[in-house]
Amino acid sequence: MNQFLYTAFVACIAGIVSIWLYAALIVTPPQAAAEAADEASLRTISKAELARHDHAESCWKAIDGLVYDFTDYIPEHPTPPAVMLRWCGKEASEAYHTKGYGSPHSPAADAMLPDYLIGRLETNN
């Protein structure tokens, strides 16, 4: 058993290190990505337009003033789809930051957000 465990230990550590190196080598640094998505170039989306995308076939959400299109991501989210669908077409900052019960999303989730960014929510003034 010791030999088996040692083999598993080496294999898993090697796997984790390989994934780390791979991800680190091909990643666009987050700062660069943020710069690339030049805020000025973002389209302004009205609340009325946001509200129209409130279903599984087209699910937009506003989080912290930015609008994301999560339509393609819903099947990949760890919870059943209903949990995410509840917030389609809505201002979902609080839902995103608390997951509905007070614990925030992981940094991994934060890092995924830019991939779904489509615009900026219009401000009232």
């Binding site: 040692y6 991800a23 990505a33 614990s103 940094p107 991994a108």
Partner: protein, 460 residues
């Protein structure tokens, strides 16, 4: 009083109903299956049957597998901690401490394996979200404590479990024991990680479930490391220290307060309180009791120099103080029930010495053949006393076997020593090599597997 009780021999435990080894195996299988079954059934009850798991699409099963391995690692770690409680008596249904310890050891192995696979699955599952998501898992921001506590717990687990599974060779006993204390902090940190990231349970359910398991583990850990050294250890004074041979000493101990009631073949943890000891002062080590229960309150313990601590004990003098904790173990059982075959090698003779001394005190009927294995007559330090006892006790025969004269123990020797091997309950204690050889020989000679009982203090 049942007839079985009426026929009990004083100072011996009755035989366990059914083989203890099988009971240990079932306990292990039960404890290994309990967390995955609960997790899968529980998750299906709260979040519904998981969406179709498509084998060709790893994205559908890597994430659930990542969650499951995390749940299993934490649950098995906590169960292993619970089993480390070491309360005298708790080990009895499982045939002694060694059975319980084996279950604990395998649970630890399962927890480690699962904890290693857990991040691997989750890292792979993050691949579709791009390398940024993967890196966020690998290099979490300081405020993302639920993530880095996971890595910290895994690091600690590797640190305290690597020696247990001899990843880098055989560890020194004391270093292993010290590192093993990290199990407490590791479990605590893993609990924080698990509760914060529980996805299959609501936060309230997560706190209740993990909190309950965590509390049980904490109670076991606190008893073992905090309370038992204060409450369960009993002070004894060394009355005599008899040198039996080079590197073998027998200590005669009398209780300063209460003694420890034991039966033949059990062992205790001995902690010396002798500041001038060259090594191992205030360190606990297991030693088998060599005296008869009939000699209580006095307890004798045979100690062979096998490491630093047992080497240092060879030079202790009368009047010093030691602490004993126990008794543990369930190796020997009542010889009134079936004829027995005892095979002992080296210091592994001590449980048989205790039993033979007891038989000589109570003059009980028995049918026992003891094969005394030693290198030569100079290393058979209990032989003369055992032969002397055998002359007085009807039904006890002592047959020496000297390796340097006769070579390895073999089938012909065993058959000559006891013709009815298939009818005897066999008890073997000694070096691992002797136990393995004897098990193989006895099985070949017709002793049923369930009738072979072995004890080796090879805890790693």
């Amino acid at each position: 009083m049942t007839p079985t009780n009426a026929r009990r021999t004083a100072g011996f435990l009755p035989p366990l109903p059914g083989p203890a080894g099988r009971r240990c195996r079932w306990l292990l299988i039960g404890l290994l299956l309990l967390p995955p079954v609960t997790a899968v059934v529980g998750s299906m009850a709260t979040t519904g049957v998981p969406g179709s798991l498509v084998f060709s699409d790893p994205a559908t099963w890597l994430q659930p597998l990542g969650s499951l391995t995390g749940i299993l690692a934490l649950a098995w770690l906590l169960l292993a901690l619970m089993l480390s409680i070491r309360l005298p008596g708790l080990d009895q249904p499982l045939g002694g401490m060694l059975g319980l310890w084996r279950v604990h050891h395998y649970l630890g192995a399962a927890a480690l394996l699962s904890a290693l696979l857990h991040p691997l699955f989750l890292l792979l599952a993050s691949a579709p979200q791009g390398p940024g998501a993967t890196l966020a898992l690998l290099q979490p921001m300081p405020r993302a404590w639920p993530l880095w506590t996971g890595w910290l717990a895994l690091g600690l687990m590797l640190l305290f479990l690597a020696p247990s599974f001899q990843f880098f060779g055989r560890p020194a006993y004391q270093r292993w024991k010290l590192l093993h204390l990290l199990a407490g902090p590791a479990a605590l940190i893993a609990l924080a990680h698990g509760i914060a990231l529980a996805r299959w349970l609501s936060p309230q359910q997560a706190i209740v479930t993990w909190g309950l398991l965590g509390s049980l583990a904490a109670v076991a850990f606190f008893w073992r490391k905090g309370l038992s050294p204060l409450l369960a250890r009993r002070p004894f004074q060394i009355d005599r220290a008899d040198v039996l041979a080079n590197g073998v000493i027998e200590l005669t101990l009398s209780p300063l307060r209460r003694t420890i009631e034991f039966t033949a073949g059990q062992f205790v943890y001995l902690t010396p309180d002798i500041p001038e000891l060259e090594a191992g002062n205030r360190e606990e080590h297991p030693y088998t009791i060599s005296s008869a229960p009939a000699e209580l309150p006095t307890i004798r313990i045979g100690i062979k120099s096998l490491g630093d601590a047992s080497w240092a004990l060879q030079s202790v003098a009368a009047g010093e103080r030691v602490y004993l904790e126990g008794p543990y173990g369930r190796f020997l059982s009542d010889p009134a029930h079936r004829p027995q075959l005892w095979i002992g090698g080296g210091i592994g003779l001590t449980p048989f010495v205790s039993a033979a001394r007891q038989l000589s005190h109570i003059q009980a009927d028995c049918d026992i053949t003891l094969i005394y294995c030693a290198n030569d007559i100079t290393r058979a330090y209990y032989l003369r006393e055992l032969q002397h006892i055998a002359e007085a006790v009807d039904g006890l025969r002592v047959i020496p076997h000297f390796y340097l004269d006769q070579g390895y123990l073999n089938a012909a020797f065993l058959r000559q020593a006891a013709a009815d091997l298939d009818k005897r309950e066999a008890y073997v204690c000694g070096p691992v090599a002797l136990i393995e050889l004897t098990e193989e020989l006895l099985t070949r000679l017709g002793t049923p597997r369930g009738a072979i009982h072995t004890e080796a203090f090879d805890l790693l």
